[in-house]
């Protein structure tokens, strides 16, 4: 038996198929992954993401610490509640984890890191924080529900105390606020509008039940994965890990090069890779033949070299197979993928594949 979220009983009662994910017993789907996926694209879905690790940092030098710890620059966070997506790098420039940082107060920030990397993240953050006298506090007692889809915010709004409801509905993307015991942020991992709600474990079942009663569809990790793939959002451990820099994982946009004097962990290595003509591309692939692209399949670029699919699957929205892949440097827009000994044709496309319910590539 693995770790259980405060919503475990709800999942079992709903006949969810439970799988192990990073040591947690999590719902894979509640019947049909595809229907859950489409519910998020067309209406609203709810995900139990309580397995994710929430870490609160506090201290007089917390901002200075984060400017050293992560590749993006928390100085970009000007307003309380604002969120920043970033990578935490090792000295070689490899990605220890990707995370979201919320600006809570001048001496306080909230981090949401991956469940599967919890232990190493906490160890790394704690070790790096010591010289800055920053307090590192894991908030295991908090649950987290993501409600996503074009109608998600409207359907979830009644869950928020009337006192804060209008302010929550007025949040701009990548902004959050504390609404009583709920922390509500307009963020997500699906390519749709919606909220991620952090709340005390004891309050989670009632909110979950009322979301479902309002018609929000419960969604498992399966749909979460196909949604994020369509949105071309990276998955740690698949698209990048400690041996891969953000520059070869399509995350160059999350690296804040300015100010040049900001010395974050991994910066010297990233600067070198940034100049390298051999830097690999991270691209979206659309399968033109029939079949399904899967993780680790070999990508062959005629006359140039080979790469690998880092996330592949079937896109329920497009009805075709899509993938993210790391491929050799060079100027080309076609390649082949080896699938069970056969070479299938793929086209390199600009990501995201799908965003806000719409297909964004030429199919």
């Amino acid at each position: 038996m693995g770790l259980r979220t405060p919503l475990h009983e709800q999942h079992v009662d709903a006949d969810a198929r439970i799988v192990d994910f990073g040591g947690w017993d999590m719902p894979l789907h509640y019947g049909s992954q595809k229907e859950e996926h489409l519910a998020v694209r067309q209406n609203a879905g709810a995900f139990d993401v309580s397995h994710m690790t929430i870490v609160d940092l506090s201290g007089a030098r917390v901002r200075e610490f984060l400017q050293y710890l992560v590749a993006n620059d928390v100085a970009r966070l000007k307003k309380y509640g604002k969120a920043l997506y970033t990578c935490m790098l090792n000295p070689a420039g490899g990605v220890i984890d990707d995370l979201i940082i919320y600006f809570v107060a001048d001496t306080e920030y909230r981090l949401v890191v991956n469940a599967a990397t919890r232990e190493k993240d906490l160890a790394w953050i704690t070790e790096q924080a010591a010289p800055f006298a920053v307090d590192v506090r894991e908030r295991a007692e908090l649950a987290m529900i993501a409600v996503q889809g074009p109608n998600a915010r409207d359907m979830a709004a009644p869950c928020i105390d009337a006192k804060w409801r209008d302010a929550a509905l007025a949040l701009k993307p990548f902004n959050g606020l504390q609404a009583g015991e709920l922390f509500v942020a307009r963020t997500g991992y699906t390519g749709e509008d919606g909220w991620e709600i952090v709340l005390p474990a004891a309050a989670a079942p009632a909110i979950w039940n009322s979301l479902l009663a309002a018609g929000v569809v419960p969604c498992g990790l399966g749909a979460r994965d196909t949604l994020r793939l369509e949105a071309a959002m990276n998955l740690y451990g698949s698209d990048m890990d400690e041996s891969i820099s953000p520059l070869e994982a399509g995350l160059g946009w999350t690296v804040a090069w300015e100010p040049a004097e900001r010395n974050f962990i991994g910066r010297p290595q990233l600067e070198m890779l940034r100049q390298s003509p051999d830097r690999r591309r991270f691209v979206g692939l659309l399968l033109e033949d029939r079949g399904v692209l899967r993780n680790h399949q070999k990508v062959i670029v005629d006359g140039i070299g080979e790469g690998e699919i880092t996330s592949g699957g079937f896109s329920p929205t497009i009805g075709r197979s899509i993938a993210l892949a790391r491929v050799p440097a060079g100027n080309y827009d076609r390649a082949q993928v080896e699938v069970r000994g056969k070479l299938l044709n793929v086209r390199i496309v600009k990501t995201p594949f799908v965003r806000n319910g719409k297909i964004r590539i030429d199919v």
Binding site: S32, Q33, E35, V292, R294, F314, P316
Partner: protein, 131 residues
């Protein structure tokens, strides 16, 4: 759990077989297998006239989650494939024992039904998996 069709034979790999009047055998995967795989999105079918050996790869079914080989439960010659699955692989989820059939085979001479599972025997296997 739905009741298993009583006129079929089964394998421990969660395939079903039906003897047709003309001596051919229709083959598919069971409801249990289809449910475990999840929504199917692609089926790779063999060629007609292809000869397959019992236990050899016969088809590949891919769901949103993963790809799975379908092994030939008996030796023989493929005489028909369900081409409707090319456009609608979810037929396997919806009607695993009907429109979701995968191939039809002309069994080899040494075809021996006694190596396959009766509905009761397969049900017992499913019950054991549940425990």
């Amino acid at each position: 759990m739905n009741e298993l069709p009583g006129d079929l034979l089964y394998t421990s790999d969660h395939e079903w077989l039906r003897r047709e009047d003309d001596g051919t055998v229709t083959i598919g995967i069971t409801d249990h297998a289809a449910t475990a795989l999840g929504d199917l999105v692609y089926v790779e079918l063999p060629e007609i006239e292809q000869e397959v050996d019992s236990g050899g790869e016969m088809a590949v079914v891919e769901s949103v989650k993963a790809a799975s080989d379908v092994y030939a439960p008996i030796s023989g010659n493929i005489v028909a494939i369900n081409e409707d699955l090319n456009d609608d692989p979810e037929k396997i989820n919806v009607e695993p024992y009907g429109e979701g059939w995968i191939v039809r085979m002309e069994p080899a001479d040494d075809f021996d039904e006694s190596e396959l599972l009766s509905p009761d025997a397969y049900q017992q296997l499913l019950d054991e998996l549940e425990d």
